[in-house]
């Protein structure tokens, strides 16, 4: 069994339109979309609504379970924590005062926080839809085809390949520990917290060392087969006309929303 496959793999197999679309197209559109969302002026709710529409359509067309998208989009939550201080630091009309500290929340601050939340959530949902409908390998090929530096693509592809190996290795270490974590009748077991923390620390350390040593072996094996830094793939796909039309239409739409929001 591999815990890796269950916890790391993001791709959800499916046969929807979104699944079968060209990975380059999906990647390009996602990046363009995230740019557009990021550039939208603060507090322009109508623009955000207009931007959310194509994403909602894509999410619905992908036939991914809504719950899955929501759960994965929780990744955006940490941004709220970072954004919350804005509520009190922005100057503007007073909303309320946090008594013991005397901090004053402003309406402008609230708008800023909500905007950051909306932007990060929309961006994360777009990325979730992309990764859930595109196999990782396709995504890597798309990155390379779109001119992402090869060192970056290679790094991501190795991470993807060996995360599974390392997760399995971690699982085996944990199993070995559990196998020797025994209880004797009538005795307090488990050792001290400090001792357990130390054991865990050593396990993490040995996992790192092994991964590092493995990377050297992998690299040697790759060099032995003539690796020069470029991953080459056999299949070259061609752009389909409909996909280009969809891409152009979406980019125009998103740009239109931007123009509308600004002028």
């Amino acid at each position: 069994m591999s815990i890796g496959v269950r916890f790391i793999e993001r791709y959800q197999a499916g046969s929807s339109l979104v699944h079968s679309a060209d990975a380059r197209l999906k990647l390009l559109l996602t990046v363009a979309y995230i740019f557009a969302v990021t550039l939208t002026p603060v507090g322009h709710w109508l623009a955000f609504g207009l931007l959310a529409a194509p994403l909602a359509i894509a999410a619905a067309a992908s036939r991914l379970p809504a719950l899955l998208i929501l759960r994965r989009s929780a990744l955006a939550l940490p941004f709220i924590v970072v954004a919350v201080p804005l509520l009190f630091t922005k100057e503007g009309d007073t909303l309320f005062t946090l008594q013991p500290f005397g901090w004053t929340a402003s309406e402008e601050g609230l708008t800023a926080v909500l905007t950051i939340l909306t932007k990060s959530w929309l961006s994360v949902v777009a990325a979730v839809v992309l990764t859930a409908t595109t196999p990782a390998l396709e995504l890597l090929r798309a990155m390379r085809a779109l001119g992402v530096p090869r060192i970056l693509v290679a790094t991501v592809s190795f991470m993807y390949r060996y995360l599974f190996v390392i997760a399995d290795e971690a699982q085996r270490l944990l199993r070995a520990r559990d196998s020797r974590s025994a209880r004797l009748e009538g005795r307090r077991c488990g050792g001290s917290v400090w001792w357990r923390a130390r054991v865990l620390g050593h396990m993490v350390g040995s996992l790192f060392l092994r991964s590092y040593e493995r990377s050297e072996r992998v690299y040697a094996a790759m060099q032995a087969r003539g690796y020069d830094g470029e991953m080459r793939f056999l299949r070259d796909s061609v752009w389909r006309l409909t996909e280009i039309v969809v891409a152009v239409a979406l980019v125009l739409y998103v740009t239109g929303v931007q123009v509308y929001a600004r002028y």
Binding site: V5, R172, D178, S179, A182, L184, C189
Partner: protein, 245 residues
């Protein structure tokens, strides 16, 4: 009748009835395993890759929990008493690098006893004894990752011997060992008094060590009997991807 039953319970080290297990990805690894091993028996577990040998061994101390009945030394394994059995069944993993996760040999061999909450003198005594039993006395302060594979395997066995188990479950202990390290390990296993269940592909070794052999394939026990009889059955071995050479 009752007397026989009670006697059987005491004499049986491992009793498995209709054990079934599927991994979360849907692979059915065990499809109804029945196996009884008497106290003091030394049993070889033979089978091709993917037969379910490791999965079966991982059930003996409750690391994996399948459907079915498992009794160790007459007591039924359930979710509440798992940790009790981890001291009774010493499970040694195939790759000693998985088993040895501590910075020094001493820390690794002492892990089990410390976790059991034993007093310091007893921990020291158990570590000393376990290392002496595997012929590695004096290696306490060595770093596990600087030892040879044969030494690592013996330390791995010491890490469970220090917990004084009644049963040893070894997963592929002979894999990747050179002939002399293999011979040393055979002598060690012959000398240990515990009930033993040992998975292996290495057919020539089975003759030396194990009077009884259990053959597994595709999640089932397909043969169980005297080692000589099973090794003489070339058709059986070939049918399950095993051969004598």
């Amino acid at each position: 009748m009752h007397a026989t039953k009670a006697r059987a319970a005491v004499d049986t080290a491992i009793g498995i009835a209709d054990l079934r297990f599927a991994y979360p990805d849907g692979v059915q690894a065990l499809r109804g395993v029945d196996l009884t091993i008497a106290n003091g028996e030394k049993v070889a577990l033979l089978g091709p890759n993917g037969a379910g040998k490791t999965t079966l061994l991982l059930h003996l101390n409750g690391i994996l929990r399948g459907k079915g009945d498992i009794r160790i030394m007459g007591r039924r394994l359930n979710n509440g008493n798992l940790k009790h059995f981890r001291a009774q069944v010493g499970l040694v993993f195939e790759n000693p690098d998985d088993q040895l996760f501590s910075p020094t040999v001493f820390d690794d061999v002492a892990f089990g006893p410390i976790h059991m909450g034993l007093p310091k003198d007893e921990v020291l005594e158990r570590v000393r004894l376990a290392l002496a039993q595997v012929g590695m006395a004096g290696f306490e302060e060595r770093l596990p990752h600087h030892l040879s594979l044969g030494q690592k395997k013996r330390i791995a066995i010491a890490t469970v011997l220090s917990m004084s188990p009644a049963i040893l479950a070894l997963d592929e202990p002979f894999s990747s060992l050179d002939p002399s390290a293999r011979r040393e390990l055979i002598h060690l296993l012959q000398a240990l008094p515990q009930t033993m269940i040992v998975s292996t592909h290495h057919i020539p070794l089975i003759r030396h060590l194990f009077p009884r052999t259990v053959v597994m394939d595709d999640g089932r026990v397909v043969a169980d009997g005297e080692t000589e009889a099973i090794l003489a059955d070339a058709a059986l071995l070939e049918a399950h991807g095993l051969e004598i050479f």
